[in-house]
Amino acid sequence: MTDTVIQTDRLTKYFGSKCALLELSMQVPRGCVFGFLGRNGSGKTTAIRMLLGLLDPTRGSATIFGHDSQQLPDNVRGKIGYMPEGHPFYRWMKAKEAGRFQSGTYPKWNKDLFEAVLEHFGIGPDDKVKNLSRGMRAGLCLALTLATEPELLILDDPALGLDPVARHAFLESMIYVTREKRCTIFFSSHLLSDVERVADRIAVLDHNVLKACCCVETFRKQIRQVILRYEDVPIDSARVMSMPGMLHCVHIGNELKLTLVNANGEVDEALNHVGASSIEQVPLGLEEAFLAYLGDKGERTSFFDKVGASQ
């Protein structure tokens, strides 16, 4: 129980009649770096806002450190560092004033760390927020969040609009934070190369529904691409399309390119019976696996339900 930092149970949100998040149930264990993925508008920010009690769920519940998100006590809030999307600030403040403002609302304040992060991003204490570049604003936001020494870091698309150097600095700080064994990081992102570097586990939202919640490596292994070649034999596409785990299938000349999910023995067995002259496996990177999984496809599937349950 104490080892789960974030838990949601059928968390659902409707804005009017529009569904923003449907029945999200997941757990984030303590000490892990958790990547929260999905296309724009798939419900990531909505989920994060509900976790923090900034938005009331339509149904379902969420807890952080065992406390209900809608009634988080101050001492629990004090342990959470939250970086909202787009790094909003009071524009008239100076960097050091923003620091003073933040330090007044948190129990802990690591001034040295705050100044170190500012320096790393090239921000002077007397610089006005409105004059900072986007990367610097992100840096200031990070400094404010890290200086409170949170036990749980919630970052909503921290890398949005950052140049590669600033992004790298961001990743370095995330690795730095994991020095503290008990610290958990929950971040949403579109940058799969970053996710591949730092995340232990990922959750994937698609059209407001949780499709996968597992280790990065598991996700990658679950998705496979194979090319079936048919020489002098007719393509039996009906048979191929009815294979278990079929995501999509592209027909090129006498070849079929299949993307398959949950590729276990069952799938291998089926591949042997589709009558192809040769079968070639195509290795996939995380990004390709993600694209193959969430890219446009004819039929919606939820094969990952199984993975989510067993992992």
Partner: protein
């Protein structure tokens, strides 16, 4: 600091596998000698900016294959045990690359002596002594 590792994201080869391969290569070519220390999990994670668990996973695999060993309280070291894989397994792993090399050299119409010479040079560059082959 040795070994000089680099990683690539977005590759079909997972990051932990890239680390395993590079340390194996460094040990096999003599870039790293038996008894050389390898960086701690934390140090390597911060240097490469990757999750420490990924490094730990790579080290576990290297330890299981006998490429590195941990000495409690001192850290992790390259072992002097080289022949972890059987000869037939090693041949099996190199064969596809040899086939590709042969195919390309026919396509590019390179004559055999030229090819042998270049292969020897390439082997020399990664630090394997010519012809004499196996280490004692």
């Amino acid at each position: 600091m040795k070994p000089n590792l680099t990683i690539k994201t977005g590759s079909p080869t997972p990051i932990y596998r890239q680390i395993v391969d590079q340390i194996c290569l460094a040990a096999a070519t003599g870039e790293m000698q038996p008894g050389d220390a390898i960086p701690s999990v934390r140090t390597l994670a911060e240097r490469l900016v990757i999750n420490p668990n990924t490094v730990a996973k790579a080290y576990n695999e290297l330890r299981r294959d006998g490429v590195i060993e941990s000495q409690p309280g001192r850290g992790m070291f390259i072992t002097d045990k080289r022949d972890v894989l059987t000869k037939s397994e090693r041949v099996r792993r190199i064969q596809p690359l040899l086939d590709a090399l042969a195919e390309q050299s026919v396509m590019l119409d390179l004559d055999n002596s030229e090819l042998h010479k270049r292969l020897d040079q390439a082997l020399k560059q990664v630090g394997k002594p010519p012809a004499s082959g196996e280490k004692p």
